[in-house]
């Protein structure tokens, strides 16, 4: 019962997201801006507003512009300030990105590898993941695992790792699953942990990392390489000379075109699926919460009742997102395993 209360409280605090801690009496809430501000990326890590002041953790900006390398904290360019000729564009193509004014007055986007909010979250999540897995691995180094079984967190991790390893990877990839298991396990736990961190409403969670297309693109690229770099002859034969009537293959390589197109659509679907699911989840929760602030000017009765309804929906959505966090990691890993398994299949 105490745990249930705790979870409920946690859910409620997650609904009261920091992005909406602004004074509800200034009723003009720019929901779209808030929403995309959260879902997108930012140079500083905005935590909350306190007494009308932004509480933001400044993060380092690393920019190579026409005047060379610039390294500075994001607090230097907050609120439209300019630093060494660099500033954040208000609108246009490069809205919310660091730009510099070009010689003809146009905005020019410099090479920008700043530690943004997402990068910081990525670093934190990766460090956490490495720490968790290596601490589990160290248990196995210190103990004779054939004599005793781990308990506690290591036991939980073992259960999950072996679930993914046996049910997903071993079944889908086929006989030489050992070569791919480390990548697939890494992908699963990377996605799962970052999905969960994205659901934690306060610092250092809450970044929409796995709902960012750059992250899912890299993951999908890894799967793409895992599929194609180690594919066997049968796989390439299926692409370059598939079974079918000869006039579809020669002189016009229609089937080959389709097959080669298929090589790219598989990882592309992985990329878009993960990105869209996680982003949509964040957008849904944020949208629900903003209902409270949008209805603030409609009077206390409507606002109060809508708050209750929103809270209930928010709890429901958070539970759903917990499920989705697992399912998306599972699906990504499973489809990667299946695609890899297909590329290793022998002709029958």
């Amino acid at each position: 019962m105490r745990w249930l209360t705790f979870i409920l409280l946690w859910m409620l605090t997650s609904v009261a997201h920091p992005a909406f801690a602004s004074d509800p009496s200034d009723a003009d809430v720019d929901v779209a801006h808030m929403l995309f501000g959260h879902i997108g990326d930012s140079y500083g890590w905005h935590i909350t507003d306190w007494n009308g002041r932004h509480v933001t953790i400044p993060l380092p900006c690393i920019v190579y512009s026409s005047t060379g390398w610039h390294v500075f904290m994001s607090s230097k360019i907050e609120h439209g300030h300019e630093h060494e000729g660099l500033f954040i564009a208000e609108e246009g193509r490069y809205a919310d990105k660091i730009v510099e004014a070009g010689p003809d007055g146009n905005l020019v986007r410099p090479f920008d590898i700043s530690i943004t909010k997402n990068v910081a979250s990525l670093m934190f999540g990766s460090a956490l993941l490495v720490l968790l897995v290596l601490s589990c691995a160290s248990w196995y180094r210190k103990h004779d695992a054939s004599e005793e079984t781990p308990g506690g967190f290591t036991g939980l991790m073992e259960m999950m790792i072996m679930m993914v390893h046996d049910d997903l990877i071993k079944d889908s990839v086929g006989p030489d699953y050992r070569r791919y298991a480390p990548y697939l396990l890494t992908a699963f736990f990377f996605i799962f942990l970052n999905n969960l961190l994205g659901l934690v409403p306060f610092f250092p969670g809450g970044a929409n990392l796995t709902g960012n297309i750059a992250v899912t693109l890299v993951l999908a690229m890894c799967t793409f390489f895992a599929i194609n770099l180690f594919a066997n002859r049968h796989y390439w034969k299926e692409i370059l000379w598939p079974d079918g009537p000869i006039f579809l293959k020669f002189p016009l390589p229609i089937m080959q075109t389709i097959e080669i197109f298929g090589m790219f659509t598989k990882p592309f679907s992985l990329m878009v699926r993960l990105f869209a699911n996680i982003m949509a989840g964040h957008a849904m929760i944020l949208g629900l919460v903003s209902v409270i602030f949008v209805t603030a000017k409609l009077g206390p009765v409507i606002n109060g009742s809508m708050t209750v309804v929103t809270m209930l929906f928010g709890v429901f959505m958070n539970c759903l997102e917990l499920l989705v966090a697992f399912i998306q990691a599972y699906v990504f890993t499973m489809l990667s395993s299946v695609f890899i398994g297909l590329s290793r299949q022998e002709s029958h």
């Binding site: 590898i113 990068v119 993941l129 490495v130 897995v133 691995a137 695992a145 079984t149 790792i161």
Partner: protein
């Protein structure tokens, strides 16, 4: 839309960091864990196999024991039965023997009784003869004590002879 365009900075960091994470976990993390767990799984499988074998052997032993017990019981029954038969037979033969012995004794007895009887009869007969001779002597002596009596006897004897 901005959301659908991968940001070069994040792409850069993601590639580097994911590569590092993958390297660390693939080298020091997951293979250690999965290898150990697979080792344990093999060990458990072996243990289960051994246990199953031991169980079947035990079952065989139990059956053997059962067999032994039932054999022993059959042997026991057989011995008892044989003993009973033996006893019956012994009793019967003893009775037979006793009966034969008794018959023999009876025959002997009867024989002796008969001999005794004959001997007794002979004695009696002799006694009777002796007595009759003595009586006759006395009778004769008394009749011959007078002359008339002697004459009469001689006469009768003559009569009888003629």
């Amino acid at each position: 839309m901005n959301l659908l365009l991968p940001d070069s900075g994040l792409l850069f960091w993601m590639t580097i960091i994911f590569a590092i994470v993958f390297f660390l976990l693939a080298k020091f993390g997951f293979p250690v864990i999965t290898g150990m767990v697979e080792k344990r799984t093999r060990r458990i499988d072996d243990a289960i196999g051994a246990a199953r074998e031991a169980e079947s052997r035990l079952k065989g032993l139990a059956a053997e024991q059962e067999q032994l017990i039932s054999d022993a019981r059959a042997e026991h029954d057989r011995i008892l039965k044989e003993a009973a038969q033996e006893r019956e037979r012994m009793i019967a033969s003893a009775q037979e023997q006793a009966r034969a012995e008794a018959g023999k004794i009876m025959d002997e007895t009867r024989e002796r009784i008969r001999q005794e009887k004959e001997a007794a009869l002979r004695d009696i007969r002799r006694e009777v003869a002796t007595l009759s001779v003595a009586i006759a002597e006395k009778v004769v002596r008394k009749e011959l004590s007078s002359d008339e009596g002697q004459k009469e006897l001689v006469d009768r004897m003559f009569e009888e002879l003629s």
